[in-house]
Amino acid sequence: MNLDFSRIYGDIPYITWGILTTLQFTLLSVLFGFMWGTVLALFKTSPFKPLNWFGQVYTSIFRGTPLLLQIGLVYFATPQLLVFNGKPLDITPLQAGVLTFTLNSGAYISETIRAGIQAVDKGQMEAALSLGIPYRLRMVDVILPQAVKNILPALVNETTTLLLNSAQVSTIGVTDILRRASIVGAEKYIYFEPLLFAGLLYYLLAMSLAVGASFLERRLQASG
């Protein structure tokens, strides 16, 4: 085995800068995924049956098909499907990636949030009802803050999964960490070293999330 990192010294900054793309991508996807997941969770806990049904079917489709396939569909099929003024919609790899991850993580996050909503003491809903608080405020100000607090650790896990899965967008050409490592590998005909280095970066990112999560959990427990 002849591991020789000196051959990629010059490329380390290039690969490392991929963190920005990966983080930008993860952050956007988590943000939009959380918003969309909240909407889906509200659908699923709604007394209105059609919304309920939509939430269930949507989730089952996005959890029941490969993410890589979803990425491909959104990136390659969108221009074919959506045509504006006779021109196919131009979608950048990053946009397609964020869109796919939003749709996909929305499905996963919605399940977590639904569980969180249902774990909030039934009395909270009754107290809010008895004060005459309308549905939107009841959810936004009373139920969701408590639900999110319950599921915060689970949400951080979700974020970690998303961060690691984000490497899949390198397949449509987003120059994230993995993509950059592959480019370096292809140029120099060495794959082991750049890929190992990329792996190290992902591991460090995932670990800092884990440390952040346990810190958060302790803070929350302290606040009761």
Binding site: G123, S130, S223, G224
Partner: protein
């Protein structure tokens, strides 16, 4: 009765096949304090919860100031804003401070200016003896303190009537008194109250009328004096023997 706040006609409630309330009819007048008592499982809480539609009646009518709230077309949110409720397990909002618990609904729903609502909230906290706890979160309070905050929260909406669902049943014995004191002073101030309770001495002292429920029926309705000295119904006699 002209100024009946609640007029309940033939109220029935079933959970699936289980019939919990049978054909209950009664009135509650403005300023009246009504104690609902009876053995556990007799439907007391369900009866009370029908009065702000936390339980939807299966049959019958409940008029609140002339409006049948059991009618799906009634504006139940509006009605609930004037019918307060205090729960056995308090149900304070754990992520809000004591003061926020009290001022949230007036500010957000009645659109009372924050400053006015805060002043009113502080006054209410003073009234229930918890002014110094205004910035504390509910998890730091004792049961009795939580329940007094819950009463203040309900009062902040300036309700015309307050429903109390076993307000002292979840409390340690030494905290029962502080809550009952607050309720007593409310009753004296003329608040209309319907109270499900097991505190017989309190019911006797504070209530104007006793409703005795047994197996989902309104078995006896009498003044406390009559009820506690000469209960008519056999079940009421048995019940009182056990309780007193």
């Amino acid at each position: 009765m002209v100024d009946a706040i609640f007029k309940i006609e033939n109220l029935c409630k079933s959970f699936g096949k289980l019939k919990v309330l049978h054909d209950i009819s009664t009135d509650i007048a403005k300023g009246e304090v009504v104690a609902v008592i009876g053995p556990s499982g007799s439907g007391k809480s369900t009866f009370l919860r029908c009065m702000n539609l936390l339980e939807v009646p299966t049959e019958g009518k409940i008029y609140f100031k002339g409006v049948n709230i059991a009618d799906p077309k009634s504006d139940i949110l509006k009605i609930r804003q004037t019918v307060g409720m205090v729960f056995q397990h308090f149900h304070l909002f754990p992520h809000m401070t004591v003061l926020e618990n009290v001022t949230y609904a007036p500010i957000k729903i009645k659109h009372v200016p924050e400053h006015t609502a805060t002043q009113a909230g502080l006054k209410l906290l003073e009234q229930v003896g918890l002014l110094e706890k205004q910035d504390v979160y509910p998890s730091k309070l004792s049961g009795g303190q939580k329940q007094r905050v819950a009463i203040a929260r309900s009062l902040a909406m300036e309700p015309e009537v307050i429903l109390f669902d076993e307000p002292t049943s979840a409390l340690d014995p030494e905290m029962v008194k502080e809550v009952l004191e607050v309720m007593k002073s409310l009753a004296t101030s003329g608040m209309t109250m319907a109270i499900v309770t097991h505190e017989m001495a309190f019911a006797r002292e504070v209530a104007h009328r006793i409703l005795f429920l047994d197996a989902g029926r309104l078995a006896e309705e009498a003044s406390p004096e009559e009820f506690f000295t000469h209960p008519q119904h056999a079940r009421a006699q048995q019940f009182l023997e056990k309780m007193l």
